[in-house]
């Protein structure tokens, strides 16, 4: 039986807007299993990023439950949520969010420093992660010296270096050209297959959708379609 990584039940998220409220997610019921390569798709404002933020324990639901790696998000303290993110979750952002004063090596190393891993262990793991993304020769460069594609590869290495169970990628190819986007997606697909890491994307990019095994369509905060796909192979 496959391991359930994410279980969302009757999930509702509302945001205060003026005197009223805006419902960003409405009665979401979804389950994701280990090793999935899935995408949440939909137009802007459909609730994709909000869903990823709740799964990533950066936000909490207004109603319903979100259980990630067996932990119910709304019941976690700040410290427990930080531990969950640190140990089990990797994030890839649209604008990479690399730390500007750190080198490529240090950016990737950061997650391992938080895990209090030894320097020798950190060096080994970071170099391996950089090898996965083909940037082992750029370890000493600062993010400002990287191209968009290289920056996103560093972000992938940073997300993968701690070998998380789940990687949440929010519009990871939105700032990349087609060539770089395909290269990045192939890389993630490869890591998904080799390390059995679960990837959950939010996207409205058709190039990304083509790589997904499963697509969840959101519209106005509701799941309108949940389909299994025949994904593009690498």
């Amino acid at each position: 039986m496959s391991e359930k990584i994410i279980v969302l039940e009757n999930l509702v998220k509302r945001f205060p807007v003026g005197d009223g409220e805006f419902t960003a997610l409405n009665d979401i019921n979804l389950t994701f299993e280990k090793g999935e390569f899935s995408g949440v798709v939909g137009p802007s404002g459909s609730g994709k990023t909000t869903l990823l933020n709740i799964i990533g324990s950066l936000d909490s639901p207004s109603e319903g439950t979100a259980t990630v790696m067996g932990k119910q998000i709304s019941s976690l303290s700040h410290k427990e949520a930080a531990q969950l993110r640190n140990k089990h979750l990797g994030f890839i952002f649209q604008v990479y969010n690399l730390l500007p004063v750190y080198t490529v090596f240090e950016n990737v190393e950061f997650a391992l420093i938080l895990q209090k891993r030894s320097a020798a262990e950190r060096k080994k793991e970071v170099m391996q992660a950089l090898e996965w993304v083909g940037l082992e020769n750029m370890a000493n460069k600062k993010p400002s010296k990287l191209s968009g594609g290289e920056g996103q590869r560093v972000a992938i290495a940073r997300a993968m270096v701690k070998r998380p169970a789940l990687v949440l990628a929010d519009e990871p190819t939105a700032n990349l050209d087609a060539k770089n986007a395909h290269a990045i997606l192939k890389m993630m697909k490869k890591l998904n297959e080799e390390l059995n890491t679960t990837f959950l994307f939010s996207t409205h990019d058709e190039k990304v959708m083509a790589y997904m095994n499963r697509l969840i369509h959101l519209e106005d905060g509701k799941v309108v379609k949940d389909e299994l796909m025949k994904a593009k192979t690498i």
């Binding site: 933020n53 990533g56 950066l58 993110r85 952002f93 969010n97 730390l99 004063v101 940073r158």
Partner: protein, 385 residues
Amino acid sequence: MKLAFHLAYKNLMGAGLRTWLNAGVLSFAFIVIIFFNGLIDGWNQQAKIDGINWEYGHGHLVNNNYDAYDAFSIQDGHGELAAPKQENLTPVLIQQGNLYPSGRMMSILIKGIDPNQKTLRLPTQLLNESNAQIPIIIGERMAESAKIKIGDDVLLRWRDKNGTYDATTATVAGVFETTVPFIDGGQVWMSIDKLREITLLQNRTTYFVANEQYEQTEVDGWRFENQAYLMREQTKLINAKKVGGSILYIVLMTLGLLAIFDTQVLSIFRRQKEIGTYIALGMTRWQVVRMFTAEGGMYSVFATVLGALYGIPILWYLSSTGISFGTDGGDMGIIMAERMYPVYGIGLILGTVLLVILSATIVSFLPARKIARMNPVEALKGKIS
């Protein structure tokens, strides 16, 4: 906490010039505080040493009838003390008189002292060396105001114990230079035996100056005034100067700390995405608060290092050559040398370093607390205003 310092160090080094500008401003405040405190401490030390060497010795045993602040007490403010009790004490007798330099009349104090004394630096041996009938020594301020010099004869008038006026010629046997105005202006020093003789005040003494071997005992009719008591006015003045100086320190520190506070506020506003990323990567909000606080605190460490680099040579130079103020404090009635030498104690330096580090850490923590209330999603979007 180690992690906070590790990350803070990397962030500050990565911030480059901005870090060194803040550290520079803070280090300037830090050096000026040490310099001014050192100057006042140097003055205090010099004033204390000069006061002890020239006037106070190791305290005064004062006749109960004499009050230094009451001119009317001079005439009868003296007494006799049995010889055995005078061990390690130098007697001084004070009487009022007049000096007539170039026909002008000056009211003065005539002070008699043992010419063989070694307790004070007054060159009283000159009184023994002179062959004049009444040799006197005076300070340079007195010499200047009376316009007399070594070897000059000047008419001296006094009143004996019976109230009878008498006068004779006194000869200036020496002019001494001192930073202590209280033994100089408006007074002449002569042999105590001679003064007792001409005033008919045999064995009478106004006060005794104790040397370091003197052991204080209760003596009927006399009171002992220790160094701290004798220097109280000077100490009060120096403390007042310190308070005045602290206004300058507060202004300088405020400027330095304001620069850090401003940088921190701006940092937290500008680095929202970075803060959001730290949280997304697994840092707790308080870990991020600690990191930002450590960054601010580290400015003061950098300021200390920077201040040491350029401050040590400057402060060392000033402490060895001294600073000339063009005039001494004698005209103002205070013990202050014309050239002052700052003294930098380890307590002063460590105290200032600790003060700077503590203040910088506090002003960094205040804006950093905002991070603890940040919504990481909003931070990641950079939408917090």
